[in-house]
Symmetry: D2
């Protein structure tokens, strides 16, 4: 696999590539004109003045790699910048249940220092008999509360057929969940859609596979991708999943994309969320996504891992102190 | 969760359930009228003459469970019966590459004793730069060769938006792959579509989660589901995945659905496929799905794990001998 | 790492090696004079007429590898040969509880076709408050019943300090348990002790690490080693451990040592033991080790996975039928 | 299982217990007279004035549990207190190679703020051909440098037969390695030996099993136990092991014993050690154990994960800043 970084779009180069027996893809990414050409033997034969640099990799991903793009990518969700000095916290309920619920939480988390509002309208549930989310109604509530409270939204998309709804309600950031982390048709469509994406790691995906899933998004020209570690499946059952902080750090060394950690899902229990959130920040996470519910005991899903607004506020203060000690802010 | 097995459809029962505060679902399955009602407290209050039996479960699935349906389910794919005395073998290439390729393999595997033709037209690939399958063209080839050679087809569906194509080419059995094992919107749509389904276990799914994925299909009224163990993700890298034969046996003790094993994907290497296939049969698999390619070295995907037609014939003979020793046939 | 296979012991070679800056080890194994010499750069410089062949490997084990010893090793435990055409079954209780118990089981399993008697005198238990075995008393019972019934014994050693007892009671085959699979001081001592060894795979050991543990035994000159797959730790909890049949087959392709499978520990439940035993045989196991108790419900350990003598007899008959179908016997 | 906390040693109670059909164990721990009695039915029948409190548990461990001992245990290694407000750092080379090497590192890590000196004299190595440590010579060097530099020592014991050497060189803290975490005979002997213990979690042990291994030490009357998380085996290979920070936090919620984290082994690579160390501190670790080598590239073992003294100093400064932000010191 070779990446040609181009000085300019060049029809002569396009011709040369098309005439070769190489596979190829042209795209614009991060303000650069790029061409992906493979296999290497063919790519090496192609030369043209428009080629500024050829980057060759043995890795199974290249656009997501920091081999060609050294500076860290900053992803903007409206006025919120992810990947900079400030650690961005997205907070809100696991599932959107009602306007009142979302509004209460949104105001509380905003007050405590969250920058984004999270909440599920479409919920992937292991059992067909569990609450599956409010669907379009949930998006509507999120949009309304977001406009009112002033926090951009991140919410999950499970099916490419719902993209028109995500457009209609102008959803600010689309989350791809762990169970869809290798739903390649969804990845392609969300890549084309173009809005910022929070891409969760599949619970059995290696770091390398996770970056290849990101590559699906980037190769459609969408570079606004934040990677989110949310726990992997291991033999240990004292926690719901094993938050792979080492994997997150390893990924950060391999990519230019910002890293998010989700301490709520692996914790499974409220008491563990604080420690995992702080550990993620200390390890270098650029973003956290945390479940907060006005009344966790009555939540329609994941009731045991959602924080109360009060507990979230305590956590935010600890995150801020920690961020300062690390030379960042939150 | 309670399952009401009904003597007959009864509008009075429907009324009672609707008036209660219970959640519910009516469906026809295996020639029975059924109602699912939950939670238990509410379901217990509902009584009606039309109810033949109430089955209560603490498991997170019920339709897939053998608590209410003791006799094993037999799934018919055209004239091929899966789950009976005969061990059914589906064979064919990993990916459909050309009509000639499929035809050559189909004839060879038929001669050797396969009952179904497998082959991927839509291929889920970890990398966006890998061969993604011929798509509709692949379905067309499969249909044509199937009609010619007389083997029903099983092939993977990755996106519900492709269902019209699966209808158009009258695909006999739809495979849901490991990476989509918890793609719940796809499961629902394939459940409604009604054709027989081969449901692979996700590489990080527990047996219980696998049965819940089957429950998504069954709760849409589609009982023609075969469960397929294809290897789980573990720390061991001497094989590509760890074929969980114990998990397959455990599943068989929990469900009435037939069990399939895929020895090709976990093996990763040709040399291991025979042993894993034989082990699966000895452990009680009702079906095997095996990758066979006329020229494995030149295959566009998974070249290292596809058998040659000759090797497949040797394997079929060993499977037949083993099946006989177990009081079955193949 | 290089292995020199020698024509004869040669003092000039010994001199050359000692004078070099290489690390080395001389040993007799399988009737051959051998020298291990490393690193490769140094080993390559050494030449002598006594060297029949130099075998170079990049693997982290060599004596256990089939790169230098192509023919499969047969391990003799008294008159029982493991690794030949016949599948050898060791059976008996998890723990030795009383002479009567062991005698009853021993007679029953012998009648059914077992060739070896298993039973634990020293028991590794997760909890300090669980029954830890009868210790020396257990060895005494095993010896007595073995002599009476005519089945050689295989029993676990947990501590090198107990070797004199194993010598005193002339234990026929020493088992190294999964929890001691990387207890390297124990491996070395048992290697020196010289009796046949049944080496279990650690529950988190890769196939490669397992072969390196065997290398500890072989490099002390003890080539009578049988490798035993007993299940690995994975996320799946429907079975106690995941019997890694693919790992056993992969190991068999890498080594000349015979392979044993333990279907009892991974099963955890009696109902699964049959299927896992048959699967192991079909995959090519040379030996099985199965827990049988005269009254499993009253067993002092692992009561849920021990077979009754009656169930064991049924299993033996199925194993024999399967073995025949595979061109072997049992 | 029941724990009787006694007002005083009472011969009448001892009599009652001995006459019952219960199993039991008397011991002194943390200045308390205790009796363990089981099963519960028998323990409930026993009453005596000397019993201050009966603590009943359903967990498979009790002495290690915080159900009976609410206040956190502080373990003193000479004048170093582990489990208090200060985060204790043990640092030093993976393996003791020479007096000069250890002395150089000891002085450097002391200067940077380490409180304990680590270094392996007995090395558990996967391959029999790897450097196995200097043995007694290593203990001698550690003792000498420790006395000179003023840092107490923590070093690994692999075999109970070496305890006299650990006594002779007056080793301050004994480490039990991951591969011996379920070497129950070693655990018992080290429990009896009485010196403070650093108990690593086995790479495939659940948190519950880890606490049961600690229970082996405590039930011999040795309460000076620090638990050390060092990474578990998972499918992910981007790091050497998966540091299970969630498991460490979960354990901390279940026990009164202090928690240590080893960021070096799971990292595998130097670049990851800092992030994992900081994450562990943020998650609540009371102690860290970090590999530092004067010249990592030339190290005889684990060369890729050992820090230089300079890098260690940078890390210590970051740890101190983080500790302050958390209301602790380092």
């Amino acid at each position: 696999m070779m990446l040609f970084i181009l000085r300019n779009d060049s029809s002569t180069l396009r011709e040369k590539i098309k005439e070769s027996s190489a596979s190829y893809k042209f795209l614009d990414l991060y303000g650069k004109k790029l061409a992906l050409v493979w296999p290497d033997e063919e790519a090496e034969k192609i030369n043209d003045d428009s080629i500024e640099m050829k980057v060759k990799t043995k890795k199974p991903y290249i656009l997501a790699s920091n081999e060609w793009k050294k500076e860290p990518t900053k992803v903007s969700v409206k006025d919120v910048e992810i990947g900079g000095e400030k650690i961005v916290v997205a907070a809100g309920p696991c599932a959107v249940e009602s306007e009142e619920q979302v509004e209460t939480v949104a105001k509380a988390v905003r007050r405590a220092g969250a920058s984004l509002l999270r909440g599920g309208a479409f919920k992937p549930r292991t059992s067909p008999y569990s609450f599956q989310g409010l669907g379009e109604g949930g998006l509507k509530i999120l949009r309304k509360v977001s406009d009112e409270v002033g926090l951009p939204i991140v919410t999950e998309i499970m099916d490419a057929r719902d993209l028109p709804l995500f457009k209609q309600y102008d959803i600010d950031m689309l989350q791809i969940g762990a169970r869809n982390a290798q739903n390649f048709t969804l990845l392609k469509e969300v890549g084309k859609f173009g809005k910022p994406v929070l891409l969760k790691r599949g619970m059995a995906n290696t770091v390398e596979e996770w970056l290849q899933s990101a590559e699906y998004l980037l190769s459609e020209g969408n570079g606004n991708v934040v990677l989110c570690e949310r726990g992997i499946r291991t033999f240990e059952k004292a926690t719901r999943f094993t938050l792979d902080i080492g994997g997150m750090v390893a990924a950060k060394m391999m990519t230019h994309l910002p890293m998010c950690a989700d301490p709520s899902h692996p914790a499974g229990k409220r008491e563990l969320v604080h420690s995992l959130a702080l550990a993620s920040v200390a390890a270098g996470a650029d973003m956290l996504i945390i479940e907060v519910h006005p009344n966790p005991e009555k939540a329609l899903s994941d009731s045991e891992q959602q924080l109360t607004p009060e507990s979230f506020e305590v956590l935010m203060n600890r995150i801020k102190a920690l961020a300062n000690a690390l030379g960042r802010s939150a």
